[in-house]
């Protein structure tokens, strides 16, 4: 058995145009969400005179730093609906975008280590099934059958008492996902403008009419913010606040190994998640640093705790070497759910607050946000995720409810 071969890239990916004087819509942020938004604006709403502005290089922020896990086993109806729609889009996107990004539905297990975990997990399996999300409960023996390298002895600090399992979940090659969207955006006429940092907004009264950038001023009728960890920095420039706190989230990879890890394993209780990349690296992640930070690096003790948990659960990792660690800045909300919708500034919309779960949400975030930008009204799926919910109290509290803390 050998690792999957990476697919060949198409000959042409995207142009690198200079910004025009004006666009019908400007998307700020050239990561996965910005690219997916522009793609669906062009494809579903016929808006092709649009630009994506990226301060660095395309998809070089969180999109390049995530652990590529895709799943939809969330507890609350609103979250299950949007993430499950996302998963359904993931299933058809490689064909639609004509680009193989190695979406591998190898399944995701969420381990339970305490009686409380077991009960919460079984509840979530039931909720998932009611919401049409594939989910099942596995006992430790079934866990071992699916992932033979897991230690299911009951004499360890965090014994495996079972797991939820979503067979349709999996991983995708994140860079290729970004390039696939970017290539289609370009084909549809979208200008992808890199090295173009937004430095301010131009408003007429309370209505946004333009964007100031390091490459000049751009007039536009609509602005969509897709800047993840930097969303509140942009909101401040535009004169409003977001209930967002930015935290560093880190991940790491080992050197290459023969395929040993056939699925994705996550543990909320000890907070480690592990999958094996197509090339063979073990990809692992942990929780966010407790404090606010924009430094794109994480605390050493977070990795230390995560590695201790990983080595106990997977004894064969004791001899693996860490090759590289990195950090991204995630935008967290108090209810651990995203914000997708209108802002206090007219014609300006925001897609943020995805916290540690943005990658899996990329297609649905793009689809629903494009709908909101094009029509000025919420999509059925993003309506519950409005900024108003912090005032009305209709929170979607996925903290502790979802498979893993945000």
């Amino acid at each position: 058995m050998s690792a999957d071969h990476l697919p060949e890239h198409p000959e042409f990916l995207w142009r690198n145009p200079d910004p025009k004087k004006s666009y019908d819509a400007v998307i700020v942020g050239g990561g996965g969400h910005g690219l997916a938004t522009a793609y669906f604006l062009a494809k579903n709403h016929g808006m092709t005179n649009i630009a994506i502005l990226e301060k660095g290089w395309l998809a070089g922020g969180n999109m390049a730093r995530n652990t590529t896990i895709i799943r939809s086993n969330y507890l609350w109806d609103e979250s299950a609906a949007i993430y499950e729609h996302s998963l359904k889009l993931w299933e058809i996107l490689p064909e639609e975008l004509e680009y193989d990004f190695l979406f591998s539905q190898r399944g995701v297990m969420n381990l339970a280590h305490t009686l409380g975990d077991v009960r919460e997990s079984m509840r979530r399996v039931g909720a998932n099934q009611l919401n049409g999300v594939d989910a099942e409960w596995l006992d430790p023996k079934q866990v071992k059958e699916l992932c033979p390298i897991l230690n299911i002895n009951d004499n360890i600090r965090y014994p495996v008492m079972g797991a939820t399992y979503q067979p349709r979940a999996g991983i995708a090659k994140h860079d290729h996902v970004a390039w696939a969207f970017a290539r289609k955006c370009d084909e549809l006429g979208v200008d992808i403008i890199q090295n173009c940092e937004v430095t301010g907004f131009i408003k007429d009264g309370n209505k946004v009419t333009g964007v100031k950038t390091t490459r000049g001023t751009i007039n536009t009728e609509k602005v969509g913010l897709c800047a993840a960890g930097h969303s509140s920095v942009l909101a401040e420039m535009a004169g409003f606040r977001l209930p967002i706190q930015s935290h560093p989230l880190q991940a790491l990879v080992s050197e290459l190994h023969e395929p040993v890890h056939p699925t994705v394993v996550m543990s909320n209780h000890v907070h480690v998640y592990v999958s094996q990349a197509h090339k063979g690296e073990l990809v692992m992640g942990a929780g966010v640093d407790s404090y606010n930070g924009y430094g794109q690096r994480g605390s050493f003790h977070v990795i230390e705790e995560q590695m201790a948990a990983a080595v106990e659960l997977f004894p064969i990792f004791g001899r693996a070497h860490v090759l590289r660690t990195w950090g991204g800045i995630v935008d967290t909300t108090m209810d651990a759910s995203p914000i997708v919708g209108a802002t206090p500034v007219e014609n300006m919309f925001v897609n943020c607050g995805w916290g540690t779960g943005g990658f899996k949400g990329t297609p649905a975030a793009g689809l629903t946000f494009a709908h909101t930008i094009a029509t000025g009204t919420p999509h059925t799926l993003n309506k519950p995720f409005s900024l108003e919910r912090f005032e009305t109290g209709a929170l979607i509290d996925e903290h502790g409810a979802a498979a893993v803390a945000h």
Binding site: L242, P243, Q245, Y291, G293, P344
Partner: protein, 119 residues
């Protein structure tokens, strides 16, 4: 790993501390008079400064006392440590930005927040 100077115990490892978010967020003076918007501001809206940030920490594995700290959220450099109820040293506060401003969701709903430092 960061090294924090607890005002009571001296320099200790970051892992002994627990984070408490933005400092100097006052409990509303007249909670019974707040609008939904003002409650939202108090409960869910915090500064998210890129740069100097005044925040609270508790020395959970030591003296168990809270204190304030000004830290740079980009370099993680600690600029000042001071007691609860004290103000940040001059020049070490975050730029005024949106601080204390009530940002209405809809312009028509603008209102003023009545808040004080409280105890």
């Amino acid at each position: 790993m960061l090294l924090f100077s607890c005002p009571n115990c001296g320099p200790r490892n970051e892992t002994e501390f627990h984070y408490g978010g933005q400092a100097h967020v006052a409990y509303p003076e007249s909670p019974d008079q707040l609008s939904n918007r003002e409650w939202a501001e108090y409960l869910f809206y915090r500064e998210n400064t890129k740069g100097l940030f005044a925040e609270r920490w508790v020395h959970a594995a030591g003296c168990r006392k809270w204190f304030n700290m000004v830290r740079d959220t980009v370099s993680y450099e600690i600029q000042a440590v001071y007691g609860m109820g004290e103000q940040a040293p001059e020049g070490l506060t975050a730029p005024p930005a949106a601080q204390a401003k009530s940002q209405p969701l809809a312009p028509a709903e603008a209102g003023t927040t009545t808040a004080s430092e409280g105890v």
